[in-house]
C-alpha cells in the first residue's frame, strides 16, 4: 500500500520521529523506557513493602499526601500494603517482564538481526506501543483515586474481585480500572505478537533460513506465539469479570456469598475456580513470555563472550519449543489447593516435571558452551552468567512446588515468593541487564561504563540471593504471603530474618540507581561505540551504531553463515560474521 511505502522515508518532524514514530527502533526504545519507568515504580513499591514488613509503624514521608486513607500520617495500613502489593505485581509482570525483553529489545533488534528494514506492519507496531501506554496510564491512575489501587493482587481472584467496593478499599473503581488496564494490555500484546510472527516468518534476509536465526530471534518468535495464544484467553476472562462487576452477571460469583456481613442476593451459581482456570491458562505461559527472551539473550551473549559456538544450537531451539508447548498444559499446578481432583493434580504435576527436561537441556548447553572457553568477562557476560545461576536456583524450587503433596504445605508461603521472584522476576531482569549492556552500544551509539556495570552486577547478584534465599526458609517455617505484619507467635521469631531481608532489599534496590546512573551518563557521555564492539557475528553488528533509519541504508544483506561461528578452525579471525564472504551486496 502506498501508505506503507511512504512510511519508509525518514520522518523529519519531532512528533513523527520520536513520538508517533513508525520506526521499529524508536518504538523499541519507547517500550524500553516505558518498562524502565514501570520497573522503578514497582521497585519503589517493593521497598515500601519491605519497610512496612520489617518496621510496621514507620511513617513514610509524603506517602500520606499520595494516599491520606491508605497511609494516614505516612504509616501504611494493612489494606494499603495490599494495594502496593497488587500494583507491584501488576507493574512488574505486565509492564516490565512482558514489555522490555520482548517488545523493547525484540522490536529494536529482531528486524535488524533478520536483515529487514522494519517490522512487517509499522503502523500496527506504533499502535501496539500506544495501546500499551494507555494501559499503563489506566493502571497508574488507580494511585490517584480516593481509595487507592485495588487490593486483590496481580491474579485478581474472584469472588472478591467481582463484587466491587464491598470487598475493600480500591475494589470499586480501582479494580475496574485494573481490569480495563489489563484488557487493554492484552489487545496491545496480541497486536505486537502478530507483528513479530509475520516479521520473523516473512522478512528474513536472503540465506537466513530458520536454522540460521540467532537464538534471540527464536526466543522472540516463540514468545510471540505464546503471547498471541495466552493473552486472548486472559482478554476473554477479563471481559467476563467486567460483566460480573458491572453487568450483574454471575460467571464467577457463587450464590449466597456473604461479603462485609451482607448477603449478595442477586448472584447465583458462578464459579471462582473458573477464573483461576482461565487466568492460569494465560498465567503460566506468561511466565515463559517473561523468561524466554532472557534465555535467548543469555545464549547469545554466552556464545559471544565465550568465543565458542553455542553448544547444541538445534537442541536449544527445540528445548524452547518444548517449554512453550508444555507450558500450556501445566496451569493447574497453580491450583493444587483449589480442591481439584488428585488425578488432575497428578497429570499437571507430571507435565510440570516434564518441563524440567528442556530446562535442563538449556542449562546443560549453556555450561557446555562455557566449558574450556577463554571467557571475556565484560559486563554483558556477567549478567548472562548471573541469569544462568538464578535460573537454576529458581528452577530447583519449582521442582518442589510442582509436586502436590509438597505444594499443599508450601502454598501461599514465602517459599512460593522465593521461587517466582528468582525464576520469573530476577532471572528475567538479569536477561534485561545482559541485553542492555550488550545492545546499548548498538541502540544509542555509546558504550556503557564497564566499572559501574561490574559494581552494579556484583551488588545486585549478591543482593538478590540475600533477599530471596532466606525466603525459602521462611516458607519452610510456614510464613504466609500477603500478611502485612507478623504478630502471630510462630512468626515473631522470624522478624530478625525479615529485617535482614529488608536491609538487603534496600541495598540492592539502591544499587539499581547505579544502573540508572550508568544508563543516563552513558547516553550522553559514554565512549563512542564502534560498529561491532563485542566482535559478535549477527547482522545488527554489520550496521553503524546506532543504525540508520532503514537499518541497512537501502542495501540488502545476504546471509551465508550460522549465528555462532566463533573460533572456527582455519578462519583468520576468531569469529565469522553471518554476512561474511559477500558483505552487503548492493541491491
Amino acid at each position: 500500500m502506498s501508505e506503507t511505502h511512504a512510511a519508509h522515508h525518514a520522518p523529519t518532524g519531532f512528533i513523527r520521529k520520536y513520538i508517533f514514530s513508525l520506526d521499529h527502533k524508536v518504538i523499541g526504545i519507547q517500550y524500553y523506557f516505558l518498562a524502565l519507568f514501570s520497573v522503578f515504580v514497582g521497585l519503589t513499591l517493593s521497598i515500601l513493602m519491605r519497610l512496612h514488613l520489617a518496621w510496621p509503624h514507620t511513617a513514610v514521608p509524603l506517602l500520606d499526601k499520595l494516599s491520606p486513607l491508605g497511609a494516614p500520617g505516612g504509616v501504611i495500613t494493612p489494606e494499603y500494603y495490599l494495594s502496593l502489593l497488587t500494583l507491584h505485581g501488576t507493574l512488574m509482570v505486565f509492564f516490565v517482564l512482558t514489555t522490555a525483553p520482548q517488545s523493547g529489545f525484540g522490536n529494536f533488534i529482531l528486524p535488524i538481526q533478520i536483515g529487514a528494514e522494519d517490522m512487517a506492519f509499522p503502523r500496527l507496531n506504533m499502535m501496539s506501543f500506544w495501546v500499551t501506554f494507555l494501559a499503563l496510564i489506566v493502571l497508574i491512575a488507580t494511585f490517584f483515586i480516593s481509595d487507592g489501587p485495588p487490593i486483590a493482587g496481580w491474579t485478581n481472584y474472584p469472588p472478591l474481585s467481582a463484587v466491587g467496593g464491598a470487598a475493600g478499599p480500591g475494589m470499586a473503581v480501582g479494580d475496574t480500572l485494573w481490569v480495563f488496564s489489563i484488557a487493554i494490555f492484552c489487545v496491545a500484546s496480541m497486536l505486537g505478537a502478530i507483528n513479530f510472527i509475520a516479521t520473523t516468518l516473512d522478512l528474513r534476509a536472503r540465506g537466513l533460513s530458520l536454522m540460521k536465526l540467532p537464538l534471540t530471534c527464536w526466543a522472540w518468535f516463540i514468545t510471540a506465539i505464546l503471547g498471541l495464544l495466552s493473552f486472548a484467553v486472559l482478554l476473554a476472562a477479563g471481559a467476563l469479570l467486567l460483566l460480573d462487576r458491572m453487568g450483574g452477571t454471575s460467571f464467577f460469583i457463587p450464590g449466597g456469598l456473604i461479603v462485609s456481613d451482607k448477603i449478595l442476593s442477586n448472584h447465583t451459581g458462578g464459579s471462582p475456580l473458573l477464573w483461576q482456570h482461565l487466568f492460569w491458562f494465560f498465567g503460566h505461559p506468561e511466565v515463559y513470555i517473561a523468561i524466554l527472551p532472557g534465555m535467548g539473550v543469555t545464549s547469545h551473549v554466552l556464545s559471544t563472550f565465550a568465543r565458542k559456538p553455542i553448544f547444541g544450537y538445534r537442541a536449544m531451539v527445540y528445548a524452547m519449543g518444548a517449554i512453550a508447548v508444555l507450558g500450556f498444559g501445566v496451569w493447574g499446578h497453580h491450583m493444587f489447593v483449589s480442591g481439584m481432583s488428585p488425578y488432575s493434580a497428578f497429570a499437571f504435576s507430571i507435565l510440570t516435571m516434564a518441563i524440567g527436561v528442556p530446562s535442563a537441556i538449556k542449562t546443560f548447553n549453556w555450561i557446555g558452551t562455557l566449558l574450556g572457553a577463554r571467557i571475556r568477562f565484560d559486563s554483558p557476560m556477567l549478567y548472562a552468567l548471573g541469569f544462568v545461576s538464578i535460573f537454576v536456583t529458581g528452577g530447583l524450587s519449582g521442582i518442589f512446588l510442582g509436586q502436590p503433596p509438597i505444594d499443599i504445605y508450601f502454598h501461599d508461603t514465602y517459599f512460593v515468593l522465593a521461587h517466582f521472584h528468582f525464576i520469573m522476576g530476577v532471572a528475567a531482569i538479569f536477561g534485561m541487564f545482559a541485553g542492555t549492556a550488550f545492545w546499548f552500544p548498538k541502540m544509542f551509539g555509546r558504550m556503557m561504563n564497564e566499572t559501574l556495570g561490574k559494581v552494579h552486577f556484583w551488588i545486585t547478584f549478591v543482593g538478590v540471593y540475600a533477599i530471596f534465599m532466606p525466603m525459602h526458609y521462611l516458607g519452610l517455617e510456614g510464613n504466609p504471603r500477603r500478611y502485612s505484619e507478623f504478630i502471630d507467635n510462630f512468626l515473631v521469631p522470624l522478624m530478625p530474618l525479615h529485617r535482614f531481608i529488608s536491609i538487603a532489599a534496600f541495598i540492592t534496590g539502591g544499587a539499581q540507581l547505579i544502573f540508572l546512573a550508568n544508563l543516563i551518563w552513558s547516553l550522553f557521555w559514554g565512549k563512542k561505540a564502534t560498529e561491532n564492539p563485542w566482535e559478535a557475528t549477527t547482522l545488527e553488528w554489520t550496521v553503524p551504531s546506532p543504525p540508520p533509519f532503514d537499518n541497512f541504508a537501502g542495501l540488502h544483506p545476504v546471509v551465508y553463515h550460522g549465528p555462532y561461528e566463533f573460533s572456527v578452525p582455519g578462519a583468520e579471525k576468531d569469529y565469522i560474521m553471518q554476512t561474511d564472504a559477500e558483505v552487503l551486496k548492493e541491491g
Binding site: 500500500m1 506492519f121 536472503r206 467476563l240
Partner: protein, 222 residues
C-alpha cells in the same frame, strides 16, 4: 459487463525505497527455506495475509476462552435455564452466508476486470454485513422483550457475550469493507493494490465460520 475500460492490476512489484525499478526477490518462498521476501521496500501481500491468519488464531483463542467458560459454567451449576433462541437468527445466518458469497462475486469480478460488478457486489456485501448487525440487534430486542437480559440467567449471559463479541468483530469487518468500498475505484483502476481486499476477505469468511460455530453452540447448549 463493466463499461469502464480497465488497466489490469499491477503485479506485485517491489520497488525499493531508493526509487529503483521493481525488483523481484530471489528464490525461496519466504517460509522456512532461506526466507526471501525481503529485500523489499515494502511488505508483500503474502505477509499481510500471514498476519491476518495469525490474527485469526488470536481470535480463535478468545472465543475458545468464552466457549470453555461456557462449558464449565454450565457443567458445574444448577441454575442454568436454557433460552429459546430468536428465530430471526436463522435469517441473520442466511444474510451473513450470502454476504460471503457476494464478497467472492466481488473479488472474482475484480480478477476478471469487471469494475462495475466489483463495486456493486462490494456494496451489496457491505449492505448485507450491516443487515446482519441490525438483525442481531433486533434479535437482542426480541429477547429483551421476553424479559431475557444479560444477567437473567447464565445461558442468556453467554448468549449476549458471544453474540456481542462476534458482533464487535464483524463491525470491524464492515468498517474494513466500507473503507474498501470508498477505495474501490482506485483498486479497480489498479492504482491501489488489492491486498487489503484479499486480507479482509479472509477475515470476513472467518467471521462466517465463527458465527456458525457460535450459532451451533448456542443452539445445543444455551
Amino acid at each position: 459487463m463493466a463499461s469502464t475500460v480497465l488497466t489490469p492490476p499491477k503485479p506485485e512489484t517491489r520497488d525499493s525505497r531508493t526509487g529503483g525499478p521493481g525488483r523481484i526477490p530471489p528464490g525461496g518462498d519466504g517460509f522456512g527455506g532461506g526466507g526471501s521476501n525481503w529485500p523489499a521496500g515494502r511488505v508483500s501481500s503474502h505477509t499481510y495475509q500471514l498476519g491476518m491468519w495469525f490474527a485469526l488464531v488470536g481470535i480463535v483463542m478468545l472465543f475458545a476462552g468464552f466457549t470453555s467458560a461456557m462449558v464449565v459454567r454450565r457443567g458445574m451449576s444448577f441454575d442454568w435455564v436454557s433460552i429459546a433462541l430468536p428465530r430471526l437468527l436463522w435469517v441473520n445466518t442466511g444474510v451473513l452466508l450470502a454476504s460471503s458469497l457476494t464478497l467472492e462475486f466481488s473479488r472474482r469480478s475484480l480478477t476478471r476486470l469487471a469494475a462495475a460488478d466489483f463495486i456493486r457486489w462490494l456494496g451489496v456485501t457491505v449492505a448485507l454485513g450491516i443487515g446482519f448487525l441490525v438483525g442481531q440487534v433486533v434479535a437482542w430486542r426480541e429477547l429483551a422483550a421476553r424479559g431475557v437480559y444479560l444477567a437473567t440467567n447464565p445461558s442468556s449471559s453467554f448468549f449476549y457475550v458471544l453474540t456481542a463479541a462476534h458482533g464487535v468483530h464483524l463491525l470491524g469487518g464492515v468498517l474494513a469493507l466500507g473503507y474498501l468500498a470508498i477505495c474501490a475505484g482506485r483498486i479497480a483502476r489498479g492504482i491501489k493494490r488489492r491486498t487489503a481486499l484479499d486480507v479482509t476477505a479472509i477475515y470476513w469468511h472467518f467471521m462466517d465460520v465463527l458465527w456458525i460455530f457460535i450459532f451451533v453452540l448456542l443452539m445445543k447448549w444455551a
